[in-house]
Every structure is written in structure tokens, then in C-alpha cells.
Symmetry: C2
């Protein structure tokens, strides 16, 4: 009974898949504060031009550089597992497969984009990369990539996480990165906020502002900023997940899955697994593709498709996306990576085109599903990943009711070894669900009324 | 440039290698308190008979049950990596390879024996397994194995670790095991100690006593005890590591390594990698085989080969081993897994036979080596594993001085994601070396004078 389907290094994909080439409607550009499209040149102080070119590219296939492949091959191709034990526990006729991205040294899918981002920066002559991080998942992945490529890495970490969750900060330090609590006294943005609110817990919005400022104000011009999700080039780099999964399913004689599932915060692990299958769907395949979010932060299921800022402080351009409003503050659920007000423009547009069927699931059902997974399949999942597992279990139960031998594929985006406190709270009965009141959501979204609206031409029939 | 050498599931070893068949002198039996050999029947209340049979077996090859292989294949065969980046940083002509045991769901080599131990117990009709754990590495591995095999698992965890290191306890809970602080009020041994010392931090010795008592006093007779290192059957189960490594080296055209290295606390990860190569050495191959220990707990390099108890409370039989004395209390270094007064009898005897060249390394050199490894190879090592890395780096530097293209192989026994506080202390300059004063060591060892002495017949020429 084979439980693990592997690929050799020779079978690793040599190109990333760019869904921008295949979406029925063209992706709409980011806008500046004046409502006019942002040009690549305007982004040049923030990102290196080779990454900006990827961000705006509509080429279907983009070569993965050899050196990037060599580093990724330290843990890739990642295994695809058949969840026999979980299937048995559920008594389902469905075949459940999961792509195991927890095998990376940082414990998640994040290094899939951290490594190429660091590599392109290095190629462009950049010496130092800045970024922000919430709980530290992305900051630690970028620290890892910079260590391997010999770049300096500076991470602005939201103060409350910096103080309360020391472990990912220690991972960054072990990989040689500098991590400071945000707001810090190192930037104008940070100093201003500290002057007004010396005891602020910080926010991702403030940390983004500091990281961008630290990049664009370096007098040597050799610093750039890096983002771990949301943007097009990040989705691109993650497609190696789905491209591998397709080859692995083919090895066990499966032409295509019936259902593809990923949790979605900014959207990158979901897109990474799903987009190669969405391509098949655009070209006629019958596949249900489900991005899963928490009911407490229902960006895709209840947020409108609008132009909105990526950060609270409105430092970023306006992006066409599903959003709960840039000042929306999600309830304190344990899946920190899914507490984001927006959604990647590429994922958002695929939703509008009818290619995806988003789903929101409550926190308690997610932990229940994650605990069942840990006790059957043996790997302790990250709280974010539990959302994908919960949806897979829902689908497996549905297949049982329908008596169908469906093939369900989900992304096991990361392990939960740094997130055990959430499980402890769950087992002790301390966790609750957070259904978002209409009033709170409305307040956040009404703010968006003044912003330009993205146009969508629905051409697909799915 | 290939950095990772993998095997398919079909290439997994189907048998474990038992070095007891090949050691020049026969292994001497454990002794009871009266100085007479322990019989298998005397161990029957503690271990299931199928494991006792393995413990005393001198068969060279022992079949791995199919169901055990199926579970191990969730993460095995583990990858063998060529450490190109570390070699480059050291400027060494040596080729450094490491076997990556950190890819298991528990993060170390421990599940290699936890899974078969749980399986043999289940085959024997046992419903519940007890064990002790210090920092929690072994307890979490056994909890993992019991979850997958549907057995109950009860872990007695040394109180000071239970209070100060909550994360592995939470791993055990997530896998459904029951973990209590030791001494507990659940056993006579625990209650007695609590009555005398209500504030005791506990010890591994006390926890062993409680776990054994909890197993042997179960009125239903369906509980047994399990140990994660030291014993012969544990070394046996770990040999899958070295057997895989041999096949992997052969795939890149290497007939045998020049140097084989592993850190050694109880001895199991070292033995697991090394014993298949020691077999080659017994049959004429020129290989230097190095078990590495901390200078603060120099069992192999300064402790005599004696009959001693495995635990402080003298609950276990007398085992023929290198020991610093069963009441020796090692300094509080961060590599908790290497703070053990004794050494596996099979490893101890191989030392006496001249097959191994043990080495002790200071804590600071180990952390320096581990940090260099993390920043070049990208994986954060466990503090225990840093000892193997430090020795590999010493050997690589020696190869550079000698201008030799040596092949160095070491066991990357586990990742350090649950041990980041040690790195933090190291980077902050808070750690020191602990050279053990002769006087302290002597006191512990003089206690042993009253015990019987094991006999050794040296027949090998290495």
C-alpha cells in the first residue's frame, strides 16, 4: 500500500506556470493614489526590475533559474501522500491526496518564493532585503533564503508577535537575519507612531511601511523590499507545487483530481497548488477548486471585489482584489497567516471568473480536523493548514454520502510545530468560533466606496 | 550539482542489521541485583516477549514487518545530502554527506524505533505503553507511533522539563498521548518521593521508575514499558539509517566513506548510522567511526567499562557499559539528549573492541558549528546533532590540512525547531563550556567498585 509518491530531482518542473496568460479577462493593473496605473518604473525603488518584469509578465511559462532549482532541490520535489489512514477513519470511498510542503527547512511553502526572490535580487546587484512579518512564518523563510544566497536580511516583526512568539524570531537570528520589533525607532514611520502611541502592539500595516521605507531610503541604493504573498510573481513561484502534484498523480494513474483545495490568506499556497489545475479547468476539465478561509476573516466569501490597498497605512498601490477593507482588523484566531483583509489579485479574479468556489470554515471545525489528521496521518498541521484539511474532510464525507470515489487533493502547506499553543487552547476548550457581524464588516467595506472600481469581463463558462 | 540522494520506497531495506552477530566478543548479559544473569522470563512483565527475543537475538538480519515498513515509508527512505555549501565555506577537499533524519514527523530519528516497538507490542496484544521522557523527544516519538497504531500511550515527563519546556508535551497531547509530570501521585515511587521532596524537579531515574511501575502493576496485564535508546533492540531498529546510507553512497559511486560520525547520548542514532559500516570494518574496510559526546558528560572518553544500572533509582538490571555512575548528574547543557550517564552496551563493547574512536567536544564549538551549518546548508540542527556536525567540521579541516579528498558521513539526527532557546543563549553569549572536574567524575565512578565487572576478550585488530 503506497502512501507516498515521490519525484526524482530530474523530474522537477523547469518552468513556473503563469496563470495571467490564461485567465479569460486580462488582469487589471495596480493603481497609484491618483487612480492612474502604476508603471514598472514607479516600482523600481521598491523591487528589483527583474522581479517587476515577472510581476507584469503574461508569458505562460517562465524558466526557473538553475541555481534556484539547485537550492529548492534541498527539499523538493516535495512528497505527495495518499491519506489512507484518514480515509479509513472517515470511512470514505474518496481518495485523499496531500502535497506535503512542510518538509522545507522553514516548515512551510514560503521558501518556494523566498529563494527565487532572494536570487533575483542578488542577480540585480542587491545586497540587502527588507520585509515585514506577522507571526514570523514569512520572515523566517526569507531569512533562510538570504542565508543560503549570502544576502543581508532585515525583518520588521509586528511587536506583539515579537514579544509573545519568540521562536520564529530565533529561527531568523539562527539564519543570520536581523529582526526588530515594529514600530521601531529605525524609520520615520516607526518613530512617528511610537511618538503618538508608545505602547502600540504594532500591525502588519505599520511593519510594511517600515520595511518599504528602510528599502527605498538606503543611500547606497542596494536594498530592496520583498513580499511573501499577494503579488503575481509570488503566485508564479508557488506553482511548482501544483506542477509537481500533477506529475505525481499521473504516476499513480490519476489523470486529474475531482477536487483541489488550499487554505488562502494572501493566496499563495492555494494558488501554488491550484493554478496548474485551474489551467486545465479553463481548457475544459471538470474540477472543483476550493480556496478556504476562516469565517472570522471572510475575504473571499463576503468581501467585494474592489480596488484596495494592501496595507493599513495605504503605502502600497491599489490592487484589484476581494477585500474586507484595508482597516479591517480580524479577530485573534490562531491561524495568523489567514488574518489578512485582502486576497491576491490573481486569486480574486479567478473567483470573479467563476473558476473557484471559495469556502469559509469555523476555527473549531478546523482544529478538530487538524487533530484527526495528526492522529491518523501522523503530521501535526499548522493552524492555517487545518482549514484545507477541514474542507478535504467535508468533501470526503460528501463523497461518502454520494457513494462516489472522488479524488480529493489538498495542499499541506506547513507543519504546526511552532504553533502548538493553539492546539493546547483547543484541547482545553478555550477556543471559540468568531462569526463576523455584518455591521463590523460593513464599516470596513464602506470605506472603499471612494476608491475606483475594477472592471471584470466574465467570459468563462464553468 | 546534486545535493540530495534519494531512494525509492522499493529500495528501502527489508531487514535490520544486528551487530551482535558480528562483534568479536559475545555481548555479556544484563545482571540482576544478585549478580546473576537476567533471563528473558524475568523481563516479561516489562517488555512483550517478541521484543525480548529481539533484545537477546544474535541473528545477523531480522525482517522488518511489512506494516512497520508502510508506516516508516511516510518519511523514509530519508534523504542523504551532499553538504556542498558547508564544504565551500570550509574550503575543504573533503566530501561531506549527511543523512537527514529530521524529516520524520517528530523531527528526529526516534520514530524509527518507536514505530516497531509500538507494532510489536500491538502484535503481542498490548493495549497501552508507558515510557519516561526528559525534554520530550522520545515521548513525542512514541506518542506519534502509538497514535498511528491505535495504542494508548502514557508518558512520565521529568517535572522541570514538563514545566519549562511545554512544547513537546503539547506534541504528545496533539497525538493523543497522556503526559504527566514526574514524580506524579499515580505511582508508589512517585508518591514516596513527593512525600519526602514535594518541590523536587524530578529526574530521568525517577521517571523510569514510575513508567516501569505503571506498566508492571496494570491488573489487566495489557500494559508494557518502552525505552527509546540504550537497549539492543533499539540499536537494531535504528540500523535502517545506515543501511539506507550505504545504498545512497553507492548511487553516487562511493564504495565506502572514510569517516562515519554520530552524536551519542544513549547511542541509538550513532549506532543506527554506524553499525552497518562497523560491520564492513570488522570485515576489513578502513573506516574511522566516531561517536561524539559533550565534554560535560564524557561517558565514552572518560567513563570506565563497567556493570551499572541504567537509572538513578537502580530499578533496571545491571548493564555492561561505559558509565559515569548511575548517580552522576551532568551539567545543564542544552543538548539534553546527550546528558546520560551510561552508553548502549553494544556501542560500549564496540569501543572496547577498538572499533570506534569516541570524541568529546565542548558546547560552544558545537553551537558555532551548528550555526555555520544552518547558514550554509539551511537546516537548523538540534543541539545534540551539533556534536556530530562539530566533529565532521573537525575532520573536514583535517582533510584540508592533509590535502586529502576524504568522504565524511554524519547523521543529522534531528532539527532544532523545538530547541531555539539554546541558540538564543549562544548568540547572546550566555553559554559556557563545562569541563568536568576529575573529582566529580571520580566520586560517581567509585560507587561502581562494588559491582561485578564485565569481561572483555579483545580479538579484533583495527
Amino acid at each position: 500500500m503506497q502512501t507516498k509518491i515521490v519525484l526524482t530531482e530530474d523530474e522537477m518542473p523547469r518552468q513556473w506556470y503563469n496563470i495571467a496568460a490564461d485567465l479569460p479577462s486580462p488582469l487589471q493593473p495596480p493603481l497609484g493614489p491618483d487612480g492612474n496605473p502604476i508603471t514598472p518604473e514607479m516600482l523600481a525603488p521598491v523591487f528589483p526590475m527583474n522581479i517587476i518584469e515577472q510581476e507584469v509578465s503574461t508569458e505562460r511559462w517562465i524558466d526557473i533559474p538553475e541555481e534556484v532549482l539547485a537550492i529548492l532541490s534541498k527539499w523538493r520535489p516535495s512528497p505527495l501522500h495518499r491519506a489512507h489512514a484518514l480515509e479509513k477513519a472517515l470511512g470514505t470511498p474518496a481518495k485523499i491526496f496531500y502535497k506535503n510542503e512542510s518538509v522545507s527547512p522553514a516548515g512551510s511553502h514560503k521558501p518556494n518564493t523566498a529563494v527565487p526572490q532572494a536570487w533575483y535580487n542578488k542577480q540585480f546587484g542587491i545586497k540587502r532585503i527588507t520585509t515585514e512579518t506577522g507571526a514570523g512564518q514569512w520572515g523566517s523563510a526569507l531569512a533562510f533564503a538570504c542565508a543560503l544566497l549570502g544576502l543581508e536580511c532585515k525583518v520588521f516583526m509586528v511587536r506583539i508577535s515579537f514579544d509573545q512568539k519568540p521562536f520564529r524570531k530565533l529561527m531568523m537570528a539562527t539564519w543570520g537575519a536581523t529582526c526588530v520589533a515594529s514600530p521601531s525607532s529605525e524609520t520615520n514611520a516607526g518613530r512617528q507612531i511610537l511618538a503618538q502611541h508608545p505602547d502600540t502592539p504594532g500591525s502588519l500595516g505599520i511593519a510594511i511601511s517600515e520595511a518599504i521605507e528602510a528599502a527605498v531610503t538606503d543611500p547606497t541604493g542596494s536594498t530592496r523590499y520583498s513580499l511573501g504573498s499577494v503579488l503575481n510573481h509570488v503566485m508564479l513561484h508557488q506553482t511548482i507545487i501544483g506542477l509537481e502534484a500533477k506529475k505525481q498523480l499521473a504516476k499513480v494513474g490519476i489523470k486529474q483530481p475531482d477536487v483541489v483545495i488550499g487554505c488562502a490568506g494572501g493566496g499563495s499556497n492555494f494558488a501554488g497548488l491550484a493554478f496548474p489545475f485551474v489551467n486545465d479547468k479553463i481548457h475544459g476539465a471538470e474540477i472543483e477548486v476550493i480556496p478556504v478561509e476562516p469565517t472570522s476573516c471572510p475575504t473571499m466569501t463576503r468581501g467585494p471585489f474592489v480596488y484596495d490597498h494592501g496595507d493599513t497605512a495605504k503605502m502600497t498601490p491599489l490592487l484589484p482584489m476581494h477585500s474586507l477593507g484595508h482597516d479591517f482588523i480580524p479577530p485573534p484566531i490562531h491561524a495568523g497567516g489567514l488574518r489578512y483583509h485582502g486576497m491576491a489579485p490573481l486569486v480574486s479574479q479567478a473567483i470573479i471568473e467563476g473558476l473557484l468556489t471559495p469556502r469559509a470554515i469555523d476555527q473549531l471545525e478546523c482544529y478538530e480536523s487538524g487533530a484527526l489528521f495528526a492522529r491518523t496521518e501522523g503530521i501535526i498541521p499548522a493552524p492555517e493548514t487545518n482549514h484545507a484539511i477541514a474542507a478535504a474532510i467535508q468533501e470526503a464525507k460528501k463523497a461518502k454520502e454520494e457513494g462516489k470515489e472522488k479524488v480529493i487533493l489538498f495542499n499541506f502547506s506547513g507543519h504546526g510545530l511552532m504553533d502548538l499553543v493553539g492546539y493546547d487552547n483547543y484541547f482545553q476548550g478555550k477556543l471559540t468560533n468568531y462569526a463576523l457581524p455584518e455591521s463590523e464588516m460593513g464599516n470596513a467595506i464602506r470605506e472603499l466606496d471612494a476608491l475606483p472600481k475594477p472592471k471584470v469581463v466574465r467570459t468563462g463558462k464553468w
